[in-house]
């Protein structure tokens, strides 16, 4: 497929896959480096809901964001942390991204990858998994994964070499934060520190765990 073609919708396009990488520069200070972060969003442009994982569906014309996170509750895939982090804390300024249209065959490959790789380790980190996931949908010349230890910084530099990259592409601020474990969806809220009051308060949503 010619490079520009995959950036245009086709009759069989069902979603827009966007790969983001942030190199950590704007959040590094006093010699203490921020190592950055990589994440992925899928915007459903079809008229039907798309299933990503067991029970994780993206409604028509909505977007879901996800990545691999190290938390003490779940070392693996978390959904919608990044839009909340950006909205509440202004994080990831200077992030780079690249997008492409995907079809049902790509989505099947993504589903299979997510089902098999819901685990975070320093080696199998956000950048490695997001790169591998992107490469499932990409032609050989535009693949981003390196066999060496993958980091958000390396991914950032790789995306800069690709045709059609963007800076600070807006990320949707909708959707609750959750992860899936043992076929259950666990909903979470992000706490925000109020600078003026120095209080911790809950921003939105409700805490719940339910069966899918």
């Amino acid at each position: 497929m010619p490079k520009n073609e995959k950036r245009r919708p086709h009759t069989d396009s069902i979603a827009i896959l966007t790969l983001y990488s942030y190199n950590g520069d704007s959040e590094s200070k006093h010699f203490i480096r921020s190592y950055g972060h990589a994440f992925v969003s899928i915007e459903n442009i079809s008229d039907m809901a798309l299933e990503l994982m067991h029970g994780v569906k993206v409604a028509s014309h909505e977007t879901i964001t996800f990545s691999w996170w190290a938390t003490d509750r779940h070392m693996g895939i978390w959904f919608n942390i990044e839009p909340n982090y950006i909205k509440l804390f202004g994080k990831y300024t200077g992030r780079i991204s690249i997008s492409r249209y995907i079809d049902m065959a790509h989505l099947d490959a993504i589903q299979e990858y997510l089902a098999r790789n819901d685990r975070y380790t320093p080696i199998s980190n956000c950048a490695k998994n997001c790169s591998a996931l992107w490469d499932l949908c990409e032609d050989k010349g535009d693949r981003v994964f390196t066999k060496r230890f993958q980091t958000p910084k390396k991914l950032y530099d790789r995306i800069r070499k690709l045709h059609g990259f963007e800076f600070d592409r807006p990320v949707n601020d909708q959707g609750e934060i959750f992860f899936v474990s043992r076929e259950k969806t666990n909903l979470f809220e992000m706490e925000k520190k109020d600078d003026k009051e120095d209080n911790i308060y809950i921003i939105s949503g409700s805490a719940d765990v339910f069966d899918l």
């Binding site: 996170w69 938390t71 706490e191 925000k192």
Partner: protein, 74 residues
């Protein structure tokens, strides 16, 4: 004089690593947490990085101590 310079260099690396170690712990502590199901989820990435710096700090400090002793025994 040369011994002093080498001594400072030997101290500089572990000092920098310990600085990074505490910097990352500080960042970890300032991270927002997530709440759900009556419990909290904490981002532990910075603590994982801190653990790496802690290991490096111990190695660098040990090496600095060994080289320092050798240097000043002569």
């Amino acid at each position: 004089m040369i011994k002093k310079i080498i001594f400072i260099l030997f101290l500089a690396l572990p000092t920098f690593l310990i600085y990074e170690l505490f910097g990352n712990i500080s960042r970890g502590l300032s991270c927002p947490s997530l709440s759900g199901d009556g419990k909290k989820a904490h981002f532990i990435g910075y603590y994982m990085v801190s653990a790496g710096y802690a290991v490096l700090s111990v190695i660098a400090s040990t090496l600095a101590f060994i080289f320092f002793r050798k240097l000043f025994r002569k």
